[in-house]
């Protein structure tokens, strides 16, 4: 059963060059899909389309069998309850003027989710490995990795079915990155996830399925393990060959 289906989607800003061209793929319920591409591949634009922040100029996006209606407010409210996101920059993705409690409960309030919001925020914040007193503090009191955990808590607090992550670990130091990747892995077992990144290593460690984007087109898609073992497209091959590896023991 496909949760998200993208059919022949094309997009360009203004009258400029096409950013995305003829993009088609589908994300089954419960899957964990990695979208990999270098700068200029169009991966971030694609993510905006999936979030309903922009609309494709051609083709369509189906969510749970029905077309995504980015301009229909009532529809989008229902959509947002089911689809949430984590962004790249842990420093700009949390409003510096608000307490963490306010930040984490924002989807609950905005989407008018019934129930005890504070209790739900407590549950979300502990499930990302932070303590409850986090809720009473401000973003500037936390490190990059902690902030990213807070952003993840905000994304899962309304119990969505699908989480989209945009370069969500790229700004983190290596030792932090490993732990946040583990957290994403844990979350992906509970819900469907689309993880956008330029870092093949991270996606390989996290996602079962892989879509490789180059200059606005999908060049390769399939099981992560299969692509890593035997890449078909020349771009994927050069990408994999370029990744620096640790030296082997003497």
């Amino acid at each position: 059963m496909s949760l998200m289906t993208v059919e022949n989607v094309g997009f360009s800003y203004g009258t400029g060059r096409k950013v995305l061209e003829d993009i088609s793929f589908s994300v089954p319920k419960g899957a964990n899909v990695g979208l990999v591409g270098e700068s200029g591949s169009g991966k971030s634009t694609l993510l905006r389309l999936l979030l309903g922040l922009d609309s494709p100029q051609s083709g369509r996006i189906l969510f749970d069998g029905a077309p995504l209606q980015a301009r229909d407010r009532a529809y989008m409210r229902g959509y947002r309850k089911r689809v949430q996101a984590v962004f790249q920059d842990p420093y700009s993705s949390l409003n510096p003027a608000h307490r963490i409690r306010r930040i984490v409960t924002e989807p609950l309030r905005s989407l008018k989710v019934p129930g005890d919001h504070l209790a739900m925020a407590r549950e979300a914040i502990t499930s990302v490995g932070l303590t409850e007193d986090t809720l009473e503090r401000f973003p500037h009191q936390f490190s990059g990795g902690q902030r990213q955990r807070i952003a993840i808590a905000r994304a899962i607090v309304a119990r969505p079915e699908l989480v989209l992550a945009d370069e969500a670990v790229s700004a983190l130091d290596l030792s932090t990155r490993v732990r946040v990747v583990d957290l994403f892995r844990e979350i992906s077992e509970r819900m469907t996830m689309i993880f956008v990144s330029h870092d093949m290593g991270v996606v390989a460690a996290l996602c079962d399925q892989l879509i490789v984007l180059d200059r606005g087109r999908i060049v390769e898609a399939g099981e992560t393990a299969a692509i890593l073992r035997d890449p078909q497209h020349s771009y994927t091959k050069s990408l994999l060959a370029s990744i620096p590896r640790m030296p082997e023991g003497a």
Binding site: E38, V202, L206, R229, L239, A241, R245, M246
Partner: protein
């Protein structure tokens, strides 16, 4: 002492905070040395201290001896003579590291002319231009004739970094400092730039101080490495040894993390 650079008990501080302390290392002529550290480890500050380019509010103590000259406490005039002559630096972000309002050819011509003057060679427009073209060839720049007139925003990130390398080489330094030179670049471009830097320093016999947070990249470049954390050195030694048999807990953690992503790429995630 035959070492080109000797740093002893370096301590960098602001009035409220110590940023680097008890730091000692040395680089021999022609050696490729790697400095590994995460953000806030003080690795970039260390490289600025070596060239005497620290921000005015920072206080440096200890000893940095570069090509026989004491850098710490040296007057600016002596440092200017040292920079370019003994040491040149390639920085992280090639877009901001180049003058946005000056054509690339003229930017390379600046250090070229200074070096020719230093060597007492001819500094006519034609001589400088020939040297600029030779440098662009050396950094394997495609279509150098066109790029001479282009502005930084008109070329790709990888090409900008090639220009920055050409400018550093134009000085014919004895030590090249590369401060996270590939962090702002795509992986495919990163691989090319890393290859370029390693082959050029080998070819020209230049010593290299390569600074990066990426263990694998440092592993490809350096013969000897030092790992920094919170302004202190936690471990140093031959690159292969540190990256395969780390002794310190922190280094072990880092290496394990890097190896996990490597393993995932091999399909063992």
């Amino acid at each position: 002492m035959s070492d080109l650079l000797t740093v002893r008990d370096l301590r960098l501080s602001t009035p409220d905070k110590v940023l680097v302390q008890d730091l000692s290392f040395s680089i021999a002529a022609g050696e490729r040395f790697g400095l590994i550290g995460e953000s806030g480890s003080g690795k970039s500050l260390t490289s600025l201290a070596v060239t005497g380019l620290l921000a005015p509010g920072l206080r440096a103590e200890g000893s940095v001896e570069l090509a026989g000259t004491q850098v710490i406490g040296a007057p600016e005039r002596r440092l200017v003579g040292l920079r370019g002559n003994a040491v040149a630096t390639v920085f992280q972000e090639p877009l901001t590291a180049l003058d946005p309002l000056m054509p690339l050819g003229r930017q390379i011509a600046g250090p070229v002319r200074r070096r020719l003057k230093r060597e007492g060679a001819e500094t006519s427009g034609a001589a400088v231009r020939a040297e600029v073209m030779a440098l662009l060839e050396q950094v394997r720049m495609p279509d150098p004739a066109r790029l001479i007139g282009a502005y930084p925003h008109e070329v790709s990130g990888g090409q900008r970094q090639r220009v920055a390398i050409a400018m550093a080489l134009a000085c014919r330094p004895r030590l090249l400092i590369a401060d996270e030179p590939t962090t702002a670049l795509d992986v495919t471009t990163q691989a090319e730039i890393v290859r370029l830097i390693t082959s050029l320093v080998d070819e020209l016999g230049i010593a290299l101080l390569f600074i990066s947070h990426d263990l694998a990249v440092v592993g490809q470049v350096a013969e000897r490495v030092m790992v920094m954390r919170h302004g202190r050195a936690v471990e140093s030694g031959p690159a292969l040894q540190v990256l395969t048999q780390p002794q310190d807990d922190y280094t072990r953690n880092l290496v394990a993390a890097a190896r996990r992503f490597d393993a995932a790429l091999e399909g063992q995630g």
